[in-house]
Symmetry: C2
Subunit: 119 residues, 2 copies
């Protein structure tokens, strides 16, 4: 059993992001099948186009951002649900004055992130 | 790729709950490893003690509830993160005047829910 407040979990900078931090809410060492992380990206910030070897299941908690997923571009906001298949290039650009906050869950499998040039 | 608004996803009553509905945000047929569901329990509502054959990873979006997990009782509120291991009895009682809303993710494995008498 585990019970914590997301705000109490330490945040680490996401090196390739601009103004992006990650908190591991439920880690691969705390649950058998998948991990829950929370990302926060500040106004004006973003994440460059990249791929991961694992899929993402995301739920937007706050704010608004433009997202590219494969060859699609969309605007995501609080209450939006997003699935990004493994190996699909994706990027984020925060819109508006609020931080963009979202949960991002991944399976407990080795993940390699790779930057891609396509945009 | 998948992008939807949680509010647009149909809600179904949870038969054993009181004032409880479930929305399947990302189903086992939409993602390879785990499913994302959103539960909403109305003020005065709850869920009786039960077990599941799969673990739960939960994130509280709104409201406040008393939860029993195994032999522990706790109060959960917005921003709280909860892990309930497989087969551990758990129950919910909403507190206050707001609905209690939370995400609950489970692996794509057969799940059997069983009511338990222990409280």
């Amino acid at each position: 059993m585990l019970h914590k407040q997301a705000n109490d979990v330490p945040a680490e900078m996401v090196p390739v992001g601009r103004g992006a931090t990650k908190q591991v809410l439920i880690g691969a060492d705390e649950a058998p099948n998948f991990a829950m992380r929370k990302f926060s990206i500040q106004p004006g910030g973003g994440m460059p186009p990249h791929t991961n070897t694992v899929e993402h299941e995301q739920y937007v908690l706050r704010g608004r951002a433009r997202l590219g997923i494969g060859d699609k571009t969309l605007v995501a906001q609080a209450g939006d649900v997003i699935f990004i298949p493994a190996q699909t290039p994706h990027w984020y650009e925060v819109e508006g004055a609020e931080p963009f906050e979202f949960l991002c869950l991944i399976p407990n499998m080795p993940d390699r992130m790779e930057l891609v040039k396509a945009r």
